[in-house]
Amino acid sequence: MLVYLIRRLFNVAATLLVVSVVTFGIFFAVPKLTGSDPALMYAGRETNETALAGIRVKMGFDKPISEQYLLFVKGIFAGRDYDGGTGVTHCAAPCFGYSFKTEAPVWQTMMDRIPVTLSLALGAAVIWVLAGVATGVVSALKRRTAIDRTVMVGALAGVSLPIFFTGMVAPAIFVYSLGWLDVSNYKPLTEDPLAWLNSLILPWVTLAFLFAATYARITRATMLEVLGEDYIRTARAKGLKEGVVIRKHALRSTLTPIVTMFGLDLGGLLGGAVLTETTFNFQGLGTAAVAAISQGDLPVIMGVTLLAALFVVLANLIVDLLYAVIDPRVRLT
């Protein structure tokens, strides 16, 4: 177990290393090749050569790419000092540098935005797992009935609808026509729980519908397969009640692929529910990243990409550990 965990954590570190090298390479090396100057991006348009030279030294743009990368990594773990000749700025660990545009520390920006993305993703996740698995199970048990067909048609529609479309249709109905909810007034949970809930319900349901559809389809297919297994027949033959057979025997193995998907999906969303945040105009990690990309704000792009990758690999790790809990046959070696 411990050996397994160490090996997996090593894998997590390796993945993040590769993601960071690739991202760094693309955003710092490609501009160098195409001749655009990061110092110029940092300084804005109205500047002079001395100021640019100062920025280059201060931010380390004058150094080779490999050295810049090492400085970046060092900043994350040990903090970093920026010395432009006019005084030292210390950036405490974890230091992801400063935004080119706002000059705010990237770490701080990300921490400010995480609660929004977290609220959005976790709330939706609860809904979609419950709704998706429940409808999938019911559909499988009531195979070839009207319920099954209705659920499956709904699910197929769900997987075929883009969130940036439903994300407009839903507010058009529930906010602007009926006036039931207010999506524009996001407040942190700690400040105003009611406004928080009011603004999040619609994005949650919209986002969850999309995923619940996929989960219902997978749950149904897996459940039907599991119900045909020999051990289910054995369980029934030894006189177990149908409810126990379904819950204790069938549902358990059905959950394995669901948990795998859930890890990838939630991990992906935590790194920024880009489309949902954009459609509902939420100030989360996803919108931060999109804005940073359109402005060429390299440090923010780097930060969010790394954070997003971290979420995905950690979520996968947790999922693999969960396997051992769900399925006693799984040994972590």
């Binding site: 894998n11 993945t15 590769v18 993601v19 991202t23 693309i26 955003f27 490609v30 501009p31 195409t34 197929l156 529609a157 997987v159 075929s160 609808l161 883009p162 940036f164 479309f165 407009m168 249709v169 058009a172 602007y176 990838l264 991990g267 992906g268 790194g271 920024g272 880009v274 489309l275 954009t278 459609t279 996803g286 990243a289 999109v290 990309i293 359109s294 060429g296 792009i301 969010v304 990409t305 997003a308 990758a309 995905v312 690999v313 996968n316």
Partner: protein, 330 residues
């Protein structure tokens, strides 16, 4: 190759030529024929297939269709726009017999023509990206499953890594640093190339995983052993013995990855990383609709429903094909 599986693909809905099969004789049916017979009975899947074919035809004959039924997709018609609100004159987003799906807010371009031309972008990107994924995924997946050992280790790690990559962000970022003209291509051509390569590249691990798993379970079968004992080389076994059995899962997955690609392309266009204006794309139309959909809902509904119907049609067909090719099915 025991089964003419390609006969069941979307492009050839016509009955399979069975000229070499004597009439009324009791014949062993090849897996491909069984699949085709099942698919032919599946009305829902066939409807999906027909819609897919229609969409492909629309994309191919876009200029002709627009000439007959629409207006130049890039021509402004400001006379059709309410000068105060910026919304189209008339009800339902300016739908009329002349402008079948209404006109765009602000500029008054013909929505019908832009949807028709948008089908080209959407389908070209989705199909070619699927092609990239299928080629890479089948090759690397089969290689990993067949050779095993360190080759499998490297390829599997690579697949895990790609699945951990924040694809959407990465693609937007990449598009923003790619210059405007590369190798003689310019503007939208470059963007399309980038989209195809990136979507295709991030898509291959999904196929790769399936093919790898299939290959691992197939390589221990008796018939492979038989071929090996007859002195067949690795390359022969991989191409002649294993590949034919991998065709079915690859084919099914291809029809299911295309709708995903359509959604990804629309999402990227929605986020501003798609083809450049004035080239029309469905995702871009939706993002244009964001600021104005409260006043002109039709401009949101038309591209949204277009994407929905397209993706749904592919999914219906893909699902039906999967059921038809499932050896356990009845």
């Amino acid at each position: 190759m025991t089964a003419p599986l390609h006969d069941t693909s979307a492009e050839t809905p016509a009955p399979v030529s069975v000229a070499d099969v004597p009439a009324k004789a009791i014949e062993g049916r090849s897996p491909g024929r069984i699949a085709w017979m099942r698919l032919r009975r599946d009305k829902v899947a066939l409807t999906g297939g027909v819609v897919v074919i229609l969409l492909i035809l629309v994309a191919i004959f876009a200029p002709l269709i627009v000439k007959l039924l629409g207006h130049d997709p890039n021509e402004f018609h400001e006379d059709l726009i309410d000068p105060d609100l910026g919304t189209p004159l008339g009800s339902l987003g300016g739908i009329s017999s002349d402008y079948l799906l209404g006109v765009e807010p602000t500029n008054g371009r013909d929505v019908f023509s832009r949807i028709v031309y948008g089908a080209r972008i959407s389908l070209i990107v989705a199909f070619l990206a699927a092609f990239v994924s299928v080629v890479l995924g089948s090759f690397l997946g089969a290689l990993a499953g067949f050779i095993g050992g360190w080759v499998d280790g490297v390829i599997s790690r690579l697949m895990d890594l790609l699945l951990a990559f924040p694809q959407l962000l990465f693609t937007i970022a990449l598009v923003s640093v790619v210059p405007n003209s590369v190798w003689g291509f310019e503007g939208s051509g470059v963007r399309m190339g980038v989209l195809i390569l990136v979507i295709g590249f991030f898509g291959w691990p999904y196929i790769g995983r399936i093919v790898r798993g299939q290959t691992i379970s197939l390589r221990e079968r008796e018939y492979v052993e038989a071929a090996r004992s007859l002195g067949a080389g690795r390359g022969y076994i991989l191409v002649k013995e294993l590949m034919p059995n991998l065709v079915a899962p690859i084919l099914v997955y291809t029809t299911l990855i295309i709708p995903t690609n359509i959604l990804t392309e629309a999402a990227l266009s929605f986020l501003g990383a798609g083809v450049k204006p004035p080239t029309s794309s469905w995702g871009k139309m939706l993002s244009d609709a964001v600021p104005i959909y409260q006043d002109d809902p039709m401009y949101m509904v038309v591209p949204g429903m277009t994407i929905f119907i397209t993706v749904l049609a592919f999914n219906l067909f893909g699902d039906g094909l999967r059921d038809a090719l499932d050896p356990k099915g009845s």
